[in-house]
């Protein structure tokens, strides 16, 4: 099963509301093997 490396894009354009859910890959944080 492939962990995704996708994230919710950081809002560059003006947004009405901020995203309520954000996804990060289990491999997407610095400081692990």
């Amino acid at each position: 099963m492939a962990p995704t490396s996708e994230t919710q894009p950081a809002p560059e354009e003006p947004v009405v509301e901020e995203t309520l859910v954000e996804e990060v890959s289990i491999d997407g944080m610095c400081g692990v093997y």
Partner: protein
């Protein structure tokens, strides 16, 4: 397709861990990590299994009317990535 008129629940493959800002959600099957960025959304998601439909869970969590569409969109996303499922 997510239908807010149907009953939902957290997937049994998912673990939800409350945090100061909301919650961390981990799907053991897909290894996907999601952050629920408000405590209210955490209440909605945890409450799904106790309500007849998703609308009910959103209302019971005290989500203000203007925010409800955003919360339903969030639930649709969580259904799409397997965090919640029809029950």
């Amino acid at each position: 397709m997510f239908d807010p008129g149907l009953p939902y629940r957290c997937s049994p493959s998912v673990a939800l861990r409350p945090e100061p800002f909301g919650a961390l959600v981990y799907h053991f099957g897909t290894r996907r990590l999601s952050f629920l960025k408000t405590p209210q959304l955490v209440d909605v998601v945890s409450g799904l299994e106790h309500h007849a439909d998703a609308h009910g869970a959103v209302e019971a969590a005290g989500v203000a009317q203007p925010q409800r569409p955003a919360y339903l969109r969030a639930l649709a996303g969580l259904a799409a990535n397997g965090t919640i499922e029809e029950r």
